[in-house]
Protein backbone atom coordinates (compact mmCIF):
# COMPACT_ATOMS: atom_id res chain seq x y z
CA UNK A 1 0.00 0.00 0.00
CA UNK A 2 1.52 3.34 -0.92
CA UNK A 3 2.27 5.50 2.08
CA UNK A 4 2.10 9.22 2.04
CA UNK A 5 4.85 11.65 2.84
CA UNK A 6 5.24 15.39 2.94
CA UNK A 7 3.40 17.47 0.36
CA UNK A 8 5.23 17.70 -2.94
CA UNK A 9 6.17 21.28 -2.24
CA UNK A 10 8.48 20.32 0.61
CA UNK A 11 9.88 16.97 -0.44
CA UNK A 12 10.01 14.44 -3.21
CA UNK A 13 12.33 13.91 -6.11
CA UNK A 14 13.67 16.74 -8.14
CA UNK A 15 13.52 15.28 -11.62
CA UNK A 16 16.19 17.46 -13.16
CA UNK A 17 19.74 16.24 -13.51
CA UNK A 18 19.22 13.17 -11.39
CA UNK A 19 21.37 10.32 -12.65
CA UNK A 20 19.72 7.42 -10.82
CA UNK A 21 16.22 8.49 -9.95
CA UNK A 22 13.30 6.76 -11.68
CA UNK A 23 15.63 4.46 -13.53
CA UNK A 24 13.70 1.57 -15.08
CA UNK A 25 16.79 -0.65 -14.81
CA UNK A 26 16.89 -2.53 -11.49
CA UNK A 27 20.66 -2.93 -11.77
CA UNK A 28 21.02 0.83 -11.67
CA UNK A 29 18.92 1.05 -8.54
CA UNK A 30 20.98 -1.75 -7.02
CA UNK A 31 24.17 0.07 -7.93
CA UNK A 32 22.85 3.22 -6.30
CA UNK A 33 22.02 1.37 -3.09
CA UNK A 34 25.46 -0.25 -3.02
CA UNK A 35 27.06 3.14 -3.54
CA UNK A 36 25.06 4.73 -0.71
CA UNK A 37 25.84 1.83 1.63
CA UNK A 38 29.54 2.07 0.80
CA UNK A 39 29.53 5.82 1.36
CA UNK A 40 27.77 5.40 4.68
CA UNK A 41 30.50 2.97 5.65
CA UNK A 42 33.15 5.61 5.05
CA UNK A 43 34.25 4.70 1.51
CA UNK A 44 35.67 7.96 0.24
CA UNK A 45 35.45 7.00 -3.43
CA UNK A 46 31.79 6.13 -3.01
CA UNK A 47 31.17 9.51 -1.34
CA UNK A 48 32.93 11.27 -4.17
CA UNK A 49 30.93 9.41 -6.80
CA UNK A 50 27.66 10.25 -5.07
CA UNK A 51 28.57 13.90 -4.73
CA UNK A 52 29.66 14.13 -8.34
CA UNK A 53 26.47 12.40 -9.47
CA UNK A 54 24.15 14.67 -7.53
CA UNK A 55 26.13 17.89 -7.66
CA UNK A 56 24.18 19.26 -10.65
CA UNK A 57 20.91 18.65 -8.81
CA UNK A 58 22.28 20.24 -5.63
CA UNK A 59 23.54 23.22 -7.57
CA UNK A 60 20.16 23.55 -9.23
CA UNK A 61 18.52 23.80 -5.83
CA UNK A 62 21.21 26.18 -4.61
CA UNK A 63 20.55 28.42 -7.58
CA UNK A 64 16.88 28.59 -6.72
CA UNK A 65 17.51 29.32 -3.05
CA UNK A 66 20.18 31.89 -3.91
CA UNK A 67 17.71 33.63 -6.19
CA UNK A 68 15.74 34.42 -3.05
CA UNK A 69 18.48 36.89 -2.26
CA UNK A 70 21.32 37.51 0.08
CA UNK A 71 23.29 34.29 0.00
CA UNK A 72 25.93 33.00 -2.35
CA UNK A 73 25.20 29.91 -4.39
CA UNK A 74 28.50 28.31 -3.41
CA UNK A 75 27.62 28.49 0.27
CA UNK A 76 24.28 26.88 -0.40
CA UNK A 77 25.94 24.19 -2.52
CA UNK A 78 28.35 23.44 0.27
CA UNK A 79 25.51 23.15 2.74
CA UNK A 80 23.60 21.01 0.27
CA UNK A 81 26.49 18.58 0.02
CA UNK A 82 26.50 18.27 3.80
CA UNK A 83 22.76 17.56 3.59
CA UNK A 84 23.37 14.89 0.95
CA UNK A 85 25.99 13.20 3.11
CA UNK A 86 23.69 13.31 6.09
CA UNK A 87 21.07 11.57 3.97
CA UNK A 88 23.69 8.95 3.08
CA UNK A 89 24.08 8.20 6.78
CA UNK A 90 20.35 7.97 7.39
CA UNK A 91 18.93 6.53 4.16
CA UNK A 92 17.36 3.11 4.52
CA UNK A 93 17.07 1.35 1.18
CA UNK A 94 14.49 -0.99 2.65
CA UNK A 95 12.04 1.91 2.63
CA UNK A 96 11.88 1.60 -1.13
CA UNK A 97 12.25 5.33 -1.67
CA UNK A 98 14.78 6.27 -4.38
CA UNK A 99 17.83 7.86 -2.81
CA UNK A 100 17.43 11.30 -4.32
CA UNK A 101 13.77 11.44 -3.36
CA UNK A 102 14.94 11.01 0.22
CA UNK A 103 18.18 12.98 0.05
CA UNK A 104 16.72 16.02 -1.69
CA UNK A 105 14.62 16.67 1.42
CA UNK A 106 17.78 16.94 3.54
CA UNK A 107 19.57 18.96 0.89
CA UNK A 108 16.72 21.47 0.84
CA UNK A 109 16.52 21.47 4.61
CA UNK A 110 20.23 22.16 4.94
CA UNK A 111 19.88 25.11 2.59
CA UNK A 112 16.78 26.38 4.39
CA UNK A 113 18.58 26.14 7.73
CA UNK A 114 21.50 28.11 6.35
CA UNK A 115 19.14 30.78 5.08
CA UNK A 116 17.39 30.92 8.45
CA UNK A 117 20.72 31.21 10.23
CA UNK A 118 22.10 33.94 8.03
CA UNK A 119 18.97 36.02 7.71
CA UNK A 120 18.70 36.62 11.43
CA UNK A 121 19.09 40.26 12.34
CA UNK A 122 22.70 40.77 13.33
CA UNK A 123 24.01 43.46 15.62
CA UNK A 124 27.74 43.19 16.13
CA UNK A 125 29.08 43.92 19.58
CA UNK A 126 32.47 45.57 20.04
CA UNK A 127 33.74 42.19 21.14
CA UNK A 128 32.57 40.61 17.87
CA UNK A 129 34.14 43.37 15.82
CA UNK A 130 37.47 42.77 17.56
CA UNK A 131 37.08 39.04 16.91
CA UNK A 132 36.55 39.63 13.21
CA UNK A 133 39.64 41.81 13.10
CA UNK A 134 41.65 38.97 14.65
CA UNK A 135 40.34 36.54 12.04
CA UNK A 136 41.24 38.89 9.18
CA UNK A 137 44.76 39.31 10.56
CA UNK A 138 45.20 35.56 10.96
CA UNK A 139 44.01 35.01 7.40
CA UNK A 140 46.45 37.58 6.03
CA UNK A 141 49.32 36.00 8.00
CA UNK A 142 48.45 32.57 6.71
CA UNK A 143 48.27 33.67 3.10
CA UNK A 144 51.60 35.47 3.44
CA UNK A 145 53.20 32.35 4.86
CA UNK A 146 51.60 29.66 2.72
CA UNK A 147 50.34 31.39 -0.42
CA UNK A 148 46.99 29.66 0.01
CA UNK A 149 43.69 30.18 1.81
CA UNK A 150 43.54 28.84 5.38
CA UNK A 151 40.83 26.39 6.32
CA UNK A 152 38.34 27.29 9.03
CA UNK A 153 40.09 24.89 11.42
CA UNK A 154 43.41 26.60 10.74
CA UNK A 155 41.86 29.99 11.42
CA UNK A 156 40.37 28.65 14.64
CA UNK A 157 43.79 27.36 15.64
CA UNK A 158 45.50 30.66 14.80
CA UNK A 159 42.99 32.82 16.67
CA UNK A 160 42.27 30.51 19.58
CA UNK A 161 38.54 30.70 18.84
CA UNK A 162 36.39 27.59 18.99
CA UNK A 163 35.14 26.44 15.62
CA UNK A 164 31.57 27.38 16.57
CA UNK A 165 32.63 30.89 17.62
CA UNK A 166 34.67 31.33 14.46
CA UNK A 167 31.78 30.16 12.27
CA UNK A 168 29.35 32.50 13.97
CA UNK A 169 31.67 35.46 13.38
CA UNK A 170 32.37 34.53 9.77
CA UNK A 171 28.66 34.14 9.16
CA UNK A 172 28.17 37.86 9.50
CA UNK A 173 30.97 38.76 7.12
CA UNK A 174 30.50 37.17 3.76
CA UNK A 175 32.20 38.85 0.83
CA UNK A 176 30.44 38.43 -2.50
CA UNK A 177 32.10 36.05 -4.93
CA UNK A 178 31.97 36.54 -8.68
CA UNK A 179 30.53 33.16 -9.52
CA UNK A 180 27.45 34.51 -11.23
CA UNK A 181 28.94 34.94 -14.67
CA UNK A 182 26.74 33.07 -17.18
CA UNK A 183 28.63 30.46 -19.18
CA UNK A 184 25.83 28.64 -21.01
CA UNK A 185 23.07 26.25 -20.07
CA UNK A 186 23.05 23.07 -18.06
CA UNK A 187 21.54 19.72 -18.99
CA UNK A 188 18.09 20.91 -17.94
CA UNK A 189 18.35 23.95 -20.15
CA UNK A 190 18.72 26.35 -17.25
CA UNK A 191 21.26 29.11 -17.32
CA UNK A 192 24.51 27.84 -15.83
CA UNK A 193 27.07 30.06 -14.18
CA UNK A 194 30.81 30.00 -13.80
CA UNK A 195 30.37 28.74 -10.26
CA UNK A 196 28.55 25.66 -11.55
CA UNK A 197 31.50 24.65 -13.65
CA UNK A 198 34.24 25.00 -11.05
CA UNK A 199 35.39 22.49 -8.50
CA UNK A 200 34.32 23.91 -5.15
CA UNK A 201 37.13 23.68 -2.61
CA UNK A 202 34.81 24.64 0.23
CA UNK A 203 32.42 21.88 -0.71
CA UNK A 204 35.36 19.51 -0.93
CA UNK A 205 36.40 20.52 2.55
CA UNK A 206 32.87 20.08 3.83
CA UNK A 207 32.54 16.54 2.61
CA UNK A 208 35.97 15.72 3.95
CA UNK A 209 34.75 17.04 7.28
CA UNK A 210 31.74 14.74 7.14
CA UNK A 211 34.00 11.87 6.16
CA UNK A 212 36.14 12.63 9.18
CA UNK A 213 33.03 12.45 11.33
CA UNK A 214 32.27 9.05 9.88
CA UNK A 215 35.85 7.95 10.49
CA UNK A 216 35.48 8.79 14.18
CA UNK A 217 33.40 5.66 14.36
CA UNK A 218 36.56 3.72 13.51
CA UNK A 219 36.70 2.25 16.95
CA UNK A 220 39.89 0.25 16.50
CA UNK A 221 42.08 3.22 17.24
CA UNK A 222 42.49 2.08 20.85
CA UNK A 223 44.44 -1.01 19.78
CA UNK A 224 48.21 -1.10 19.90
CA UNK A 225 50.29 -2.13 16.92
CA UNK A 226 50.70 -5.74 17.95
CA UNK A 227 47.00 -6.18 18.62
CA UNK A 228 46.18 -4.75 15.22
CA UNK A 229 48.70 -7.02 13.55
CA UNK A 230 47.22 -10.10 15.18
CA UNK A 231 43.61 -9.25 14.35
CA UNK A 232 44.29 -8.01 10.83
CA UNK A 233 46.40 -11.03 9.88
CA UNK A 234 44.28 -13.67 11.57
CA UNK A 235 41.08 -12.49 9.94
CA UNK A 236 42.59 -11.44 6.64
CA UNK A 237 41.73 -7.75 6.92
CA UNK A 238 43.82 -6.52 4.02
CA UNK A 239 46.14 -9.53 4.29
CA UNK A 240 45.82 -13.18 3.33
CA UNK A 241 44.46 -14.78 6.52
CA UNK A 242 47.04 -16.55 8.70
CA UNK A 243 46.78 -19.10 11.49
CA UNK A 244 47.72 -18.15 15.03
CA UNK A 245 50.82 -20.31 14.66
CA UNK A 246 51.90 -18.48 11.49
CA UNK A 247 51.36 -15.12 13.15
CA UNK A 248 53.21 -16.29 16.25
CA UNK A 249 56.17 -17.41 14.17
CA UNK A 250 56.46 -14.03 12.48
CA UNK A 251 56.18 -12.19 15.80
CA UNK A 252 58.40 -14.56 17.79
CA UNK A 253 55.49 -15.62 20.01
CA UNK A 254 53.70 -18.86 20.77
CA UNK A 255 50.31 -19.50 19.22
CA UNK A 256 48.81 -19.43 22.69
CA UNK A 257 50.31 -16.01 23.38
CA UNK A 258 48.89 -14.76 20.06
CA UNK A 259 45.50 -16.12 21.08
CA UNK A 260 45.72 -14.18 24.35
CA UNK A 261 46.64 -11.00 22.50
CA UNK A 262 43.68 -11.48 20.19
CA UNK A 263 41.30 -12.08 23.09
CA UNK A 264 42.54 -8.90 24.78
CA UNK A 265 42.13 -6.92 21.57
CA UNK A 266 38.58 -8.16 21.05
CA UNK A 267 37.72 -7.26 24.63
CA UNK A 268 39.09 -3.73 24.08
CA UNK A 269 36.96 -3.37 20.97
CA UNK A 270 33.90 -4.62 22.79
CA UNK A 271 34.42 -2.09 25.55
CA UNK A 272 35.00 0.71 23.05
CA UNK A 273 31.77 -0.12 21.25
CA UNK A 274 29.84 -0.36 24.50
CA UNK A 275 30.96 3.07 25.72
CA UNK A 276 28.36 5.72 24.79
CA UNK A 277 29.90 8.59 22.82
CA UNK A 278 29.42 12.23 23.68
CA UNK A 279 27.90 14.95 21.52
CA UNK A 280 30.18 17.94 21.57
CA UNK A 281 28.64 21.00 23.12
CA UNK A 282 29.74 24.60 23.37
Amino acid sequence: MPRRGYPASTAGPDSRNVPFDDSPVPAERERERALVAAAEGGDEDACRQLIESFLPAIQGLARRFAAGGGIQQTELTQEGIAGLLFAVRRYDARMGTPFWAYASFWVRKAMQDLLAELKRPVALSDHAVRGLAQIRAARRDYIDAHASEPTADQLAGATGFSRAHLDSLLAVERPPRPFDEPVGTDAAGDLATLGDTLADPEAEEEYRHVLDEIAVREFARGLDERERTVLWRHYGLGWPPQTLTQIGTSLGLTAERVRQIEAGALQKLREAAAEPPDVRGT
Binding site: G12, A93, Y102, F105, L114, E117, A164, R270, P276
Partner: protein, 296 residues
Protein backbone atom coordinates in the same frame (compact mmCIF):
# COMPACT_ATOMS: atom_id res chain seq x y z
CA UNK B 1 13.65 11.21 34.21
CA UNK B 2 10.97 13.21 32.42
CA UNK B 3 10.46 13.08 28.69
CA UNK B 4 7.92 15.64 27.51
CA UNK B 5 7.13 17.54 24.35
CA UNK B 6 6.55 21.17 23.42
CA UNK B 7 4.56 21.78 20.24
CA UNK B 8 5.14 25.37 19.20
CA UNK B 9 3.44 27.65 16.73
CA UNK B 10 6.29 29.90 15.64
CA UNK B 11 9.97 30.51 16.17
CA UNK B 12 9.13 33.35 18.50
CA UNK B 13 6.86 31.08 20.53
CA UNK B 14 9.66 28.51 20.68
CA UNK B 15 12.32 30.99 21.72
CA UNK B 16 10.32 32.77 24.40
CA UNK B 17 8.90 29.71 26.08
CA UNK B 18 11.99 27.50 25.96
CA UNK B 19 14.11 30.38 27.23
CA UNK B 20 11.76 30.70 30.21
CA UNK B 21 11.86 26.97 30.81
CA UNK B 22 15.64 26.88 30.70
CA UNK B 23 16.05 29.90 32.98
CA UNK B 24 13.95 28.10 35.56
CA UNK B 25 16.44 25.27 35.37
CA UNK B 26 19.39 27.60 35.77
CA UNK B 27 17.78 29.15 38.85
CA UNK B 28 17.37 25.65 40.29
CA UNK B 29 21.06 24.88 39.78
CA UNK B 30 20.52 22.49 36.88
CA UNK B 31 22.74 22.05 33.87
CA UNK B 32 20.69 23.35 30.95
CA UNK B 33 21.11 22.21 27.37
CA UNK B 34 19.77 23.49 24.06
CA UNK B 35 20.05 20.93 21.29
CA UNK B 36 19.13 22.19 17.84
CA UNK B 37 20.54 22.84 14.40
CA UNK B 38 22.81 25.84 13.86
CA UNK B 39 19.98 28.20 13.02
CA UNK B 40 18.05 27.17 16.12
CA UNK B 41 21.08 27.54 18.34
CA UNK B 42 21.75 31.01 16.99
CA UNK B 43 18.15 31.96 17.65
CA UNK B 44 18.34 30.66 21.20
CA UNK B 45 21.61 32.46 21.89
CA UNK B 46 19.84 35.65 20.95
CA UNK B 47 16.78 34.82 23.02
CA UNK B 48 18.78 33.92 26.11
CA UNK B 49 21.02 36.97 26.02
CA UNK B 50 23.59 36.94 28.86
CA UNK B 51 22.12 33.67 30.19
CA UNK B 52 23.42 31.96 27.05
CA UNK B 53 26.86 31.88 28.65
CA UNK B 54 25.52 29.52 31.30
CA UNK B 55 23.93 27.10 28.82
CA UNK B 56 25.34 24.16 26.93
CA UNK B 57 24.58 24.35 23.20
CA UNK B 58 24.69 21.14 21.20
CA UNK B 59 24.56 21.18 17.42
CA UNK B 60 22.32 18.31 16.39
CA UNK B 61 22.36 19.11 12.68
CA UNK B 62 23.82 15.76 11.77
CA UNK B 63 23.22 13.65 14.89
CA UNK B 64 20.06 11.73 14.11
CA UNK B 65 21.41 9.09 11.76
CA UNK B 66 20.47 5.85 13.47
CA UNK B 67 18.24 5.51 16.56
CA UNK B 68 20.74 3.34 18.46
CA UNK B 69 23.54 5.82 17.86
CA UNK B 70 21.37 8.78 18.84
CA UNK B 71 20.45 7.07 22.13
CA UNK B 72 24.13 6.45 22.81
CA UNK B 73 25.11 10.02 21.94
CA UNK B 74 22.53 11.55 24.25
CA UNK B 75 23.34 9.15 27.05
CA UNK B 76 27.04 9.93 26.83
CA UNK B 77 26.29 13.65 26.88
CA UNK B 78 23.95 13.44 29.86
CA UNK B 79 26.43 11.38 31.86
CA UNK B 80 29.15 13.93 31.16
CA UNK B 81 26.94 16.87 32.16
CA UNK B 82 25.76 15.12 35.30
CA UNK B 83 29.33 15.25 36.56
CA UNK B 84 28.89 19.03 36.68
CA UNK B 85 25.37 19.38 38.09
CA UNK B 86 22.87 17.31 40.06
CA UNK B 87 20.39 17.23 37.19
CA UNK B 88 20.05 18.15 33.54
CA UNK B 89 17.29 20.02 31.76
CA UNK B 90 17.42 19.71 27.98
CA UNK B 91 15.38 21.17 25.13
CA UNK B 92 15.92 19.18 21.96
CA UNK B 93 14.53 19.87 18.51
CA UNK B 94 13.85 16.75 16.57
CA UNK B 95 14.55 15.98 12.92
CA UNK B 96 11.99 13.92 11.07
CA UNK B 97 12.65 12.95 7.48
CA UNK B 98 10.40 13.00 4.43
CA UNK B 99 8.85 9.53 4.38
CA UNK B 100 6.34 7.63 6.42
CA UNK B 101 8.87 4.88 7.15
CA UNK B 102 11.31 7.45 8.42
CA UNK B 103 8.64 8.81 10.77
CA UNK B 104 7.95 5.30 12.07
CA UNK B 105 11.59 4.66 12.77
CA UNK B 106 12.11 7.92 14.63
CA UNK B 107 8.82 7.67 16.45
CA UNK B 108 10.16 4.38 17.77
CA UNK B 109 13.24 6.25 18.87
CA UNK B 110 11.09 8.72 20.78
CA UNK B 111 9.35 5.81 22.51
CA UNK B 112 12.72 4.26 23.39
CA UNK B 113 13.83 7.56 24.89
CA UNK B 114 11.32 6.99 27.70
CA UNK B 115 13.35 3.97 28.76
CA UNK B 116 16.87 4.88 27.71
CA UNK B 117 17.56 7.50 30.38
CA UNK B 118 15.05 6.44 33.02
CA UNK B 119 17.86 5.96 35.54
CA UNK B 120 19.22 9.51 35.08
CA UNK B 121 18.02 12.78 36.68
CA UNK B 122 17.23 14.47 33.37
CA UNK B 123 14.23 16.36 32.04
CA UNK B 124 14.13 16.23 28.26
CA UNK B 125 11.65 18.37 26.38
CA UNK B 126 11.43 17.54 22.68
CA UNK B 127 10.29 20.47 20.57
CA UNK B 128 8.12 20.18 17.47
CA UNK B 129 7.11 22.96 15.08
CA UNK B 130 3.36 22.50 14.64
CA UNK B 131 3.29 24.29 11.31
CA UNK B 132 6.14 22.42 9.68
CA UNK B 133 5.28 18.81 10.49
CA UNK B 134 2.55 16.52 9.16
CA UNK B 135 -0.26 15.40 11.41
CA UNK B 136 1.07 11.83 11.54
CA UNK B 137 4.25 13.02 13.25
CA UNK B 138 2.35 15.22 15.66
CA UNK B 139 0.04 12.31 16.50
CA UNK B 140 3.12 10.30 17.36
CA UNK B 141 4.23 13.01 19.78
CA UNK B 142 1.19 12.27 21.93
CA UNK B 143 1.94 8.54 21.92
CA UNK B 144 5.55 8.92 23.00
CA UNK B 145 5.63 11.81 25.50
CA UNK B 146 4.16 11.78 28.98
CA UNK B 147 3.23 15.45 29.02
CA UNK B 148 2.82 17.93 26.22
CA UNK B 149 3.11 21.69 26.45
CA UNK B 150 0.76 23.47 24.12
CA UNK B 151 -1.09 26.28 25.83
CA UNK B 152 -0.02 24.71 29.13
CA UNK B 153 1.56 21.50 30.38
CA UNK B 154 -0.95 18.67 30.19
CA UNK B 155 -0.63 14.89 30.45
CA UNK B 156 -0.99 13.13 27.14
CA UNK B 157 -4.06 10.93 27.31
CA UNK B 158 -2.71 8.98 24.35
CA UNK B 159 0.65 8.06 25.86
CA UNK B 160 1.42 4.38 25.27
CA UNK B 161 3.78 1.86 26.76
CA UNK B 162 7.06 2.47 24.89
CA UNK B 163 7.58 -1.19 24.09
CA UNK B 164 4.08 -1.39 22.60
CA UNK B 165 4.82 1.62 20.41
CA UNK B 166 8.07 0.11 19.16
CA UNK B 167 6.44 -3.25 18.58
CA UNK B 168 3.63 -1.80 16.50
CA UNK B 169 6.03 0.25 14.38
CA UNK B 170 8.58 -2.51 13.75
CA UNK B 171 8.80 -3.76 10.21
CA UNK B 172 8.48 -7.45 9.48
CA UNK B 173 11.91 -8.84 8.53
CA UNK B 174 12.23 -9.96 4.93
CA UNK B 175 12.84 -13.68 4.28
CA UNK B 176 16.02 -13.07 2.21
CA UNK B 177 16.22 -16.53 0.62
CA UNK B 178 19.39 -15.58 -1.25
CA UNK B 179 21.62 -15.64 1.82
CA UNK B 180 24.29 -18.36 1.96
CA UNK B 181 24.19 -20.78 4.85
CA UNK B 182 26.97 -22.43 6.87
CA UNK B 183 27.61 -24.14 10.17
CA UNK B 184 30.90 -24.35 12.06
CA UNK B 185 29.70 -25.60 15.42
CA UNK B 186 30.01 -23.61 18.63
CA UNK B 187 33.66 -22.53 18.32
CA UNK B 188 33.65 -18.74 18.20
CA UNK B 189 37.10 -18.51 16.70
CA UNK B 190 36.11 -20.72 13.78
CA UNK B 191 32.91 -18.69 13.51
CA UNK B 192 34.96 -15.48 13.14
CA UNK B 193 37.37 -17.09 10.65
CA UNK B 194 34.53 -18.27 8.45
CA UNK B 195 32.76 -14.92 8.70
CA UNK B 196 35.99 -13.06 7.91
CA UNK B 197 36.29 -15.16 4.75
CA UNK B 198 32.78 -14.15 3.69
CA UNK B 199 33.46 -10.50 4.43
CA UNK B 200 36.62 -10.66 2.31
CA UNK B 201 34.74 -12.44 -0.48
CA UNK B 202 32.22 -9.60 -0.49
CA UNK B 203 35.07 -7.05 -0.56
CA UNK B 204 34.00 -5.42 2.70
CA UNK B 205 36.78 -2.97 3.74
CA UNK B 206 38.90 -4.05 6.70
CA UNK B 207 37.65 -1.52 9.25
CA UNK B 208 34.01 -2.31 8.48
CA UNK B 209 34.73 -6.04 8.47
CA UNK B 210 36.19 -5.72 11.95
CA UNK B 211 33.02 -4.00 13.15
CA UNK B 212 30.95 -6.90 11.86
CA UNK B 213 33.33 -9.45 13.38
CA UNK B 214 32.97 -7.86 16.81
CA UNK B 215 29.20 -7.39 16.51
CA UNK B 216 28.65 -10.93 15.25
CA UNK B 217 30.87 -12.35 17.97
CA UNK B 218 28.55 -10.75 20.53
CA UNK B 219 25.48 -12.27 18.93
CA UNK B 220 27.12 -15.67 18.45
CA UNK B 221 28.28 -15.63 22.07
CA UNK B 222 24.71 -14.98 23.18
CA UNK B 223 23.56 -17.87 20.99
CA UNK B 224 26.07 -20.23 22.57
CA UNK B 225 25.53 -19.08 26.17
CA UNK B 226 21.82 -18.36 26.26
CA UNK B 227 20.31 -19.71 23.04
CA UNK B 228 21.12 -23.40 23.20
CA UNK B 229 23.90 -23.08 20.64
CA UNK B 230 24.31 -21.88 17.08
CA UNK B 231 22.07 -23.74 14.66
CA UNK B 232 23.01 -21.98 11.45
CA UNK B 233 24.68 -18.86 10.13
CA UNK B 234 23.48 -17.06 6.99
CA UNK B 235 25.43 -14.39 5.15
CA UNK B 236 25.17 -12.37 1.97
CA UNK B 237 24.63 -8.91 0.57
CA UNK B 238 21.28 -7.14 0.20
CA UNK B 239 20.67 -3.52 -0.78
CA UNK B 240 24.42 -3.04 -0.88
CA UNK B 241 24.85 -4.10 2.74
CA UNK B 242 26.59 -7.17 4.10
CA UNK B 243 24.30 -9.30 6.27
CA UNK B 244 25.14 -11.84 8.94
CA UNK B 245 22.30 -13.79 10.53
CA UNK B 246 22.92 -16.05 13.52
CA UNK B 247 20.19 -18.61 14.21
CA UNK B 248 20.17 -20.33 17.58
CA UNK B 249 18.27 -23.22 19.16
CA UNK B 250 16.73 -21.30 22.04
CA UNK B 251 13.38 -19.69 22.70
CA UNK B 252 14.68 -16.24 21.83
CA UNK B 253 13.41 -13.04 23.37
CA UNK B 254 10.53 -10.70 22.74
CA UNK B 255 11.83 -7.34 23.88
CA UNK B 256 11.56 -4.82 21.02
CA UNK B 257 14.01 -2.45 22.71
CA UNK B 258 16.68 -5.08 23.40
CA UNK B 259 20.06 -3.57 22.62
CA UNK B 260 18.80 0.02 22.63
CA UNK B 261 19.35 0.55 26.35
CA UNK B 262 22.81 1.34 27.69
CA UNK B 263 24.47 -1.67 29.35
CA UNK B 264 24.16 -1.62 33.12
CA UNK B 265 24.51 -4.28 35.80
CA UNK B 266 21.89 -6.90 35.05
CA UNK B 267 21.40 -5.76 31.47
CA UNK B 268 23.30 -7.43 28.66
CA UNK B 269 25.95 -5.74 26.56
CA UNK B 270 25.93 -7.95 23.48
CA UNK B 271 23.01 -6.54 21.51
CA UNK B 272 23.93 -2.99 22.48
CA UNK B 273 27.39 -3.51 20.98
CA UNK B 274 25.86 -5.11 17.88
CA UNK B 275 23.49 -2.16 17.39
CA UNK B 276 26.28 0.38 17.81
CA UNK B 277 28.51 -1.32 15.26
CA UNK B 278 26.00 -2.17 12.54
CA UNK B 279 23.36 -0.40 10.51
CA UNK B 280 20.44 -2.45 11.76
CA UNK B 281 19.74 -5.44 14.00
CA UNK B 282 16.58 -7.50 13.61
CA UNK B 283 15.47 -10.42 15.76
CA UNK B 284 12.72 -12.86 14.84
CA UNK B 285 11.63 -16.50 14.90
CA UNK B 286 12.56 -18.31 11.69
CA UNK B 287 11.78 -21.89 10.61
CA UNK B 288 15.31 -22.92 11.74
CA UNK B 289 15.23 -21.19 15.11
CA UNK B 290 15.55 -17.78 16.69
CA UNK B 291 17.44 -15.44 14.38
CA UNK B 292 19.38 -12.25 14.99
CA UNK B 293 20.18 -10.53 11.71
CA UNK B 294 22.81 -7.80 11.47
CA UNK B 295 23.06 -5.42 8.52
CA UNK B 296 26.48 -3.77 8.16
Amino acid sequence: MRHDAFVYDSDEDYAVRTAGFLREGLDAGECCVVAHNRAGLAMMRDALGPDADRMVFVDLSWTYTRPARAVAAYHGTFVRLLRQAPSVRAVAEFQFGPTFDDWDEWQSYEAITNLAYDHLPVWVVCTYPANRLPDAVLDGVLRTHNEVLADRWAPSDRFEDPRDVVRTLMREPQPLPGLRSWYVGQDLERFREQLAGDLAAEAVPGAKALEMLVAATEVATNAVRHGGGIEEVRVGRVDGRFICEVIDRGAGFDDPVAGYLVPRPGRGTGLWVARQLTWRVESFHSPRGFAVRMWL
